[in-house]
Point group: C2
Chain length 344, copies 2
Amino acid sequence: MAAKSATGKRVTLRDVAARVGITPAACSMALADSDRISPATKEAVRRVAAELGYVGSSAARALRKQRAGAIALIVPTTSRHVFGHSYFMHVLSGVTSVANDHDTQVLIATNADTARGLTAYERVMRSNSADGAILTSAAIEDETVDRLLASGLPLVLIGNFPQLTDAITIGVDDRSASRAATEHLIEVHGRRRLLHLTGPLDHQTGVDRRDGFLEAVTAYGIGADAIVLEGDFSEERGHALVDGLGDTYDGIVAANDDMAFGALTALRSRGRAVPSEVALIGFDDFGLSRVTTPAISTVSVPAEEMAVAATERLLKLIDGKPAEWTRRDVEVSFRYRQSCGCGA
Amino acid sequence: MAAKSATGKRVTLRDVAARVGITPAACSMALADSDRISPATKEAVRRVAAELGYVGSSAARALRKQRAGAIALIVPTTSRHVFGHSYFMHVLSGVTSVANDHDTQVLIATNADTARGLTAYERVMRSNSADGAILTSAAIEDETVDRLLASGLPLVLIGNFPQLTDAITIGVDDRSASRAATEHLIEVHGRRRLLHLTGPLDHQTGVDRRDGFLEAVTAYGIGADAIVLEGDFSEERGHALVDGLGDTYDGIVAANDDMAFGALTALRSRGRAVPSEVALIGFDDFGLSRVTTPAISTVSVPAEEMAVAATERLLKLIDGKPAEWTRRDVEVSFRYRQSCGCGA
DNA sequence: CTGAAAGCGCTTACAG
DNA sequence: CTGAAAGCGCTTACAG
């Protein structure tokens, strides 16, 4: 479907040009505000274009300019489960707001189905549907990331990818943040027997948050009492892990808020009080942790801010403009609420 | 950017054709599995295409076929605030899963900025970037909906639009559902002095949920004791409305869960127990209500299911295929949790 | 049945 | 400086 004139036909540059009495080429230049065209002609073209309701064909423009005028937000299907709805919505908000400001369309691509050995998002990229992509939360071993990178398509990754040294990435320092959160339980709340519920360890985020936890307990000499259980970022797993364990710990560092909430419900059913018997801290702050009772203390990850910066960086990359950074960490902030013992 | 051969140039149908020794036209037909092409040639074309990494140009195809191969999910900016993140993520999930199955791209469009009197999403549509659109949660008086509708572009609306009798819409019966939720507080929990916190009354959803509440209290002859306060779907307003009111009621029907949660925190700070002193019920079930303490009883709106059905309907509309419905209601379900007095 | 031209709607490199 | 041709990469209507 397309812009229609009264007769139902699409309004093209030829129509505008005919009405103004110039060529489509001149019309095109007029709308592009070229110096070649006189102010009077530009004005006439603009008036007629508005009258006829002319809107340029994105396909024709894309074909001619070899530029889609769109970027893709790539969501590996696995990470949809892994990172959850709220995370993507924060990311999507950031991406769309920047793209909007730059007259760029946003495409959502997943690798749900594959055909001829290409994932859906590879096809999006290679079919020229998008001029570049934001890829978020890929697994460490996701080989499509390498292929995408190798293809030379403009790409900005959200997250940490230490092995991809040539990639442009933006993330948070999960290790330091996790260490700081763990140290908070130790220093401020005097906890010594700590349990860590990890994220999925095929994601760098899971690895880094675990490593930060381990650094902290090691630094304080309480590593022998520390327990690390492998989780997957899901509330269910958080619940199950805590439910299947004895009561030998006095603090929990969960790698995300969903698992922290699962832990909280499990503690509740076991009759263990939070924070008095068990201090609890999560990670993410994408919405859940603020509304529970007790509210979950957490490390706030500025997902939207990362998405905004990633999108601005991508647009510069596409345009070949100079950019300030190649690998960037944004700051987290700590939200000490009730579940660690800080809040009211 | 585009699919690259070893030399860095985009691989086009001409390259494939040259290699196979046929014309690009024949190549195109081969890839489209046309009867005109022999099985042997098709096989050769497919092999060479795979070898060269050929992926067709979406722009060229769109221009030639006058079909974008994409649909737009339109998000009026106002409703972003109004309906919140989780709602859109449910909708987006539904839309992308169906679109994926039909090799269709999904574009996110908002009306954030306007140029030459056109909203961003009108430009998306009229520039042929999308073959149709899903529009969700528009305000009653949003005149761009009328213009979109009048333009004849394939459009499916999520929500209720009683005044747009020609539109294809899918929604839930908010009035009946709200009435049933209210009756639950009356019949099952014996509440007689009810407070309703409305949604924004410039949205049909707000109006219908209020009307359902009023029907129930009227039917039970307790309308004189009922209080209706105008809200806006935000937690803050829910909190403020309850905070600014005396304690003359024993039940609250909130038009959504965010306001219900705001009410809950306000009741907590006033020292009123939920559900014993005040029974509370919300609406939506997009995530929040399940995790609070007490968990909020609510009416579950199947947002993803609506989005799936809307997208399937849109694709049929675009293809001119026969469809089963023009206006459809999907069933809500009731989640009676602790806040009304039902749950454990 | 099959080959190859025409043309979708733009923009820009080129000719004059 | 300015006019108008060429061509982006496809697909289909047409000619043979």
